[in-house]
Amino acid sequence: MTDDLDPLRQLRPDRLLSDDPVDPQILARERDRLMSTITGTSAGAANRRTPSIYPRLAYQDERAALEFLTRAFGFRERREARMEHPTGMLAWLEVGDGVVMIGRAGENLHGLHSPQESGQTTMMVNVYVDNVDAHYRKAKAEGARIVMDLEDMFWGDRRYEALDPEGHRWHFGERLSDIRSRGSDPDDQHRDPRMSELNQEKMMSAIEQAEPTTSNPPSGSPRILAHLIYDDVGSAIGWLTEVFGFGERTEARHVAGDGTIGRTQMHVADSLITIGEPSIHGDSPRRGVSSMLYVYVNDVGAHYRQAQAAGATVVTELDDRPWGDRCYQAIDPEGHQWTFAQHVRDVALGHDH
């Protein structure tokens, strides 16, 4: 057909760019999602395929944050999980099987503050993505503030760090072994020219030791890994172990020359977090906390009793919630917020939260 609409026809995006077939994985995932909605098994949608632990971040403008995080960082919203309240919106975003939740900041909303108000972050969110080079280019083009450029690191990750519009700090990485097995070399232009030969050597041995078929994220690590900041990491390890029943992965412990612990990893339920000293990554919650961690445990009643007996400051009592979770909230000695939950019943979609 030739007529005055031809220029418009030529403007169809897939006539300009090669028309890739629709990713069958996307369709398969969306089909699963539809079928679980239809059969009602998606009830308690926020909990479906939810990892044992996921962070909640506070924003002054959570809708703008949602728009930014999906556009710049490629997160996908679980639309069926969204909750609209008079006091703001709660949204769940996912990347792979990792989940992060966002909500409005406020004293009465778990006392969570946007870094924009408090001037500091108290947690950094580490995310393993599937193509960190493409992720970096997209985030940069969309206006994310890059605070650490894309670099190959000696521990075998290629990573960068960015701030979102309200100042939450995000760390995006990919295993170098995965980049290699994907058949694409990391861009040389982004390689850190300052990287010492020693570091390169360590990095190469990290790559050599890795299984050729390693999966991203590395085995044992969740897709989204929360990094909490404590002034006194040693005391935090003791308290988290005693009160919340976490376990330290001592092989991940970094000790400074003066014997203080710089950072370590903690098992939480069947997931993992890292904790570390104040640094460019964040600060202890002196001026207000910017995040809360939501943790699924197998027996929240037992967990609650143990935490209370050990002296945890419970800020919300153990109770059943409309979204089908039984949970309680506590703060730790430096002020980080924790919610411990157990999913006890499925709630039909469309339930009035």
């Binding site: 220029p7 418009l8 403007l11 629709v22 996307i26 369709l27 969306e30 556009r71 919203e77 069926e80």
Partner: protein
Amino acid sequence: MDDSDGEVITRSLADPTAFGTLFDRYAAMLFRFFVRRVDPSAADGLLSDVFRIAFERRSTFDASRTTARPWLYGIATNVLAKHRRSEARRLRATAALAARRAFQDDPAERVAAAVDARELWPQLAEAIADLPAAERDALLLFAWEELSYDEIALALGVPVGTVRSRLNRGRGRLRELAPSSGEEPSTVSRAAQRGDCDP
């Protein structure tokens, strides 16, 4: 012999899982529709919305119809309504790409034509972005999705005569953009004055 869409939807009233067949038939088509119109990274979420809405409203589908294609395009068009800004961004980005390409592809002796093309594409994108949503939706269902007037009428829930007049208005504005007319700024301002007269 495959069941018609009407039969599938009727069956899904008693057996909801039968609705999966409709997804298998139309998901790729609708995914492409969204990728053309908005930021591709939003397409899977919008696709998910369309099928959830379609499922909830399946009892309103006229089961005597053999195809659900226009009905699904109609739902998809409604779902787009909240993404007008993203739509305008996508149009501008596509136009910028088309302009660059025209400039590169043209041999040296046709530089003048290439310069025209370089200006034409962004003007076209602005004109489309400035159209009232109802006209843009009809025009793009016709030019990009290749729906017939009847199918567009079904999709948008308006009489065929309305589709025809929307398309004519849209065409008229694009015609004004022809490089010889030289009146492109007035086209844009007229569109702006007109405002978005969506219901």
